[in-house]
């Protein structure tokens, strides 16, 4: 099996084609937004992409509000790979500091209760400042990989730029919002890696996600990853009932699962995507082990230009 399977189908319209490029292009952008439905392996892929990129250039991996880490914590994973836990309140404070300047005024502003509630309660403001922090770091890192929140929240981050940009019309904040839109809508600067499992709902949702991204940023470069693909079984599944949704034996489960995945991937028949196999957890707390396997796979994909 080749890792880089299938190519762009000739049936795709020119607009679609520009929105879906070969996955090796993922390695040529300053910003890589790793997106998809919850639980499809966004974090694994984001870590792996960041690992590969950091071998050549200074890279920042951004997580969004991981509750198990301190806000704004910056972990140094290697000299060229830093890992930020982006968090809205800290981002808001940092941004206010940059914009207002005079420390005394910043203090008055941030300590005002009205402002504090406004910043927390106004829908979309948290998403806006989270994205602002990512944009701001473009000066400090050659590559930025963002482990985005699940579909809806991720899209809110992009949409907030337009919503608040319009409300702040003619102001310095609107200027920043419009500069951010300019950067994030440029396919030379930004790539979107849409991750999915070979299950019906994530696959359908990944195409909806693509359409939403293209609606917000029409020229986006979007690449797809089918993650955690079940190995094709070689042993006999034995007799079983198709009517029962759950299998009885491992052999039956493997047979039905890999057959189902093949059928489901028909949803993606018109797009080019990277196939990532389901790596068995070698150790119980398996995250770093799996990241290493996926990183090795992506390194190969980077070479295949």
């Amino acid at each position: 099996m080749t890792d880089l399977e299938s190519s762009l189908s000739p049936e795709i319209s020119p607009e679609k084609r520009s929105a879906e490029v070969s996955e090796s292009a993922a390695f040529r952008k300053q910003f890589l937004f790793v997106q998809g439905k919850g639980g499809v392996g966004k974090s694994t892929l984001a870590h792996a992409y960041a690992q590969v990129l950091s071998k050549k250039e200074k890279t920042l991996l951004v997580s969004i509000e991981d509750p198990l880490r301190a806000p704004f914590d910056l972990a140094v994973l290697s000299p060229t790979l830093h890992h930020l836990n982006n968090e809205a309140t800290s981002a808001f404070e940092e941004y206010a500091g940059i914009k207002i300047g005079a420390p005394r005024l910043v203090k008055v502003f941030l300590q005002n209760r009205f402002m504090r509630y406004l910043a927390k309660a106004a829908p979309g403001i948290r998403e806006l400042v989270l994205l602002g922090k990512i944009w701001y770091e473009r000066k400090n890192y050659a590559r930025i990989v963002i482990d985005m929140p699940a579909t809806g929240h991720g899209l809110t981050m992009f949409q907030s730029l337009f919503n608040w940009g319009a409300l702040f019309d003619g102001s310095p904040l609107a200027k920043d919002a419009s500069d951010m839109i300019k950067t994030f809508s440029d396919p030379k600067e930004v790539g979107h890696a849409v991750i999915s499992l070979a299950e019906e709902m994530p696959l359908v949702e990944s195409l909806e996600l693509r359409d939403h991204i293209v609606r917000i940023f029409p020229k986006s470069d979007i690449f797809f990853v089918a993650n955690r693909l079940f190995p094709a079984p070689t042993s006999n599944a034995g007799p079983f009932s198709e009517a029962l949704p759950e299998a009885r034996t491992a052999a039956e489960h493997a047979y039905r699962k890999s057959r189902l995945e093949k059928e489901n991937l028909a949803e993606w028949k018109k797009i080019s995507y990277l196939r990532v196999p389901f790596f068995p957890p070698r150790i119980t707390h398996s995250f770093s082990g799996v990241v290493a396997e996926v990183t090795a796979l992506l390194s190969k994909s980077e070479g295949a230009k």
Binding site: K37, G39, L105, V108, F109, Q111, N112, F114, M115, Y117, K120, A121, P123, G124, I125, A150, G152, H153, T156, F158, S160, A166, L167, F168, D169, G170, S171, L173, A174, M201, V204, E205, E208, H212, F230, P231, A232, P233, T234, S235, P245, E246, A247, R248, T249, A250, A251, E252, H253, A254, Y255, R256, L260, F278, P280, P281, T284, H285, S286, F287
Partner: protein
Amino acid sequence: MNKNAAQSPGLESAIRRRRVLITCGTGGVGKTTVSASLAVRAACEGKRVIVITIDPAKRLATSLGLESLGHEPTDLTAALEKASGREVSGKLFALMPKSAESFERLIRSLTTKEEAVQRIFKNPILKTFSQEFSGTNEYLALEELMYFYSRSDYDLVILDTPPSRNTLSFLEAPQLMAKFFEEKFIRFLVIPANRLLAFGMRKTFSILERLTGAGFIHQLFDFGGAMFEVQENFLKKLHAIHDLLGSDEVGFLMVAAPTPESAPEIGHFLAQIRERGFHFDGVLLNRSLGHLTTNTPPADEAEKLIDALKARENVAYQDLRAAANAQRGSELEKLFYVRIPELARDVHGLEDLYHVSRLFEPAPL
């Protein structure tokens, strides 16, 4: 209740006692499927139940085999009877709220004055909030929850929350909004002369104006003026939602996959729930592979993978047991765990949801 279905006293008691069940959890654990199956189970036990999904990705529709759910609840009782081949003593409804409609209903519930309604709809700030992906889903979900809770035609409302490790932002929404609408601020926005009152406030506003522009400040004052008329009713509503969430009519359920990450995640979530005085009912562990029999030694790569995943699942159960043991005397000890097997095909409709609702079994913890 059907005698073929496995009994889980904790789960049955939650369905019987609560008027609202809120399912939480990270993405990809089958939260929507589990929530819908739970609703099916409750309907079969005689409850008139409505399941609401606010996931912006509209997944309930797929689970229920419906093209798209409207803004009004869809009655699925007859379809469930057909799919299950049995009489359903309760009723089953499903709803996927749409931002714009929820927002309009919320505003109209606050005032009968058409003029006030129109003023709110015209404000650019509020207009923005009624759109999709504007970040208002959390607020509107709670509004939907409150609306269906207060109607006498439903015994049980099941709310499927958006996937998040931070479900708390969603629970904090009414309180945050309420603080913002406390009269001090809104009065300030309505009567700009009040700016004379506080130096800090005056300074803050001049900075805000410099950053966001005069146009925005004008809209903000207009927003204050528009909301002032409905402020009292809005505050009442926000407090009512907050009180409801903390009352013993509402139970929180966590849906998780049996992986080693679950124990810390459940622990974190439980701590947050406890901090707010909410009621945590239990954990539904979905996508378990424990039921699959394997050959020794494994016949091929696929079986090796399943063996490895089963081993990992056992570690997850050990971690959960250890966490429960460490919490003797607290509510974690009383929690129920339900195990739901991973399916070998996609869930297509009510027939499958009915089947899944029969598979909930108490985990041997």
